[in-house]
Subunit: 173 residues, 2 copies
Amino acid sequence: MRVLGIDPGLTRCGVGIVEGTVGRPPTLVAVGVVRSDPALDVARRLAEIAVGLEEWFDTYSPEAVAIERVFAQHNLGSVIDTAQASGVAALIGARRGLPVTFHTPSEVKAAVTGSGNADKAQVGAMVARILKLSAPPKPADAADALALAICHAWRGGHTNRYAAAAAEARSRR
Amino acid sequence: MRVLGIDPGLTRCGVGIVEGTVGRPPTLVAVGVVRSDPALDVARRLAEIAVGLEEWFDTYSPEAVAIERVFAQHNLGSVIDTAQASGVAALIGARRGLPVTFHTPSEVKAAVTGSGNADKAQVGAMVARILKLSAPPKPADAADALALAICHAWRGGHTNRYAAAAAEARSRR
């Protein structure tokens, strides 16, 4: 299964593609970032992000999309921008008929490091180790996107419904 | 100027179109809602919203788009869904080359009722009066979308930069 992981953001979306199945080591296909021009207004920036993401879909033909779930209680200043970019990413996947799954940051960290509380450096180091890279991918958004794709491939495309429900419950408090 | 106002939501987006210019009474062109099927996953629901909104753009050819600005501190449970739908709406407008402006709820209420703290009933009643309708449009999301479009038309398409900056500052606290 070829999975495109997307760490959404209005300034910069991390994108990472791995090929992998349950129980086997995933391999790196491609990794990078999609940026928008901060001088433009929000709607035009979302359109730039859409164009950039569509190039990744066109070039690499992923079979599934994994997007980081955005929570309202984090980073109040930028959470709306991030959620808007996340909506654009999900729309592009859905319009291509692909399964689009949201994974929580702690699900992803737990999948690649064994701990839901791992920091960015630990996630980057484990992504490099799993994919046999000489160094953690930069920037951190790109490493996070690969971690999302690895998490999704290892689960065979299934969400951890318990973790998702627990996260949902926390976000509603 | 023909303005499409959009009150974003994942379950239901209010949509309202008015024809108007600064200093003249606006007239109603169309009003309604775009819905998504709650049984679908989020990505597919966003795709349904996109299809529904695109029909409004195709049918009525608006020249400008006014979207309600989403704030992180309101309705923690649904704010991410709403922001994702808002991103999809903004993307569609931007891709058609239209100006897309976000207005805060208090800007819109102040524009149509004279008070930034007006309740939904007051907004609906003033929308009906301004557009010479026999009753407030239902549901409230549809009335809100018309209020957005009226606010935008009356401002000649300009944001109240002071109000936007103040709202931005509050959302970052």
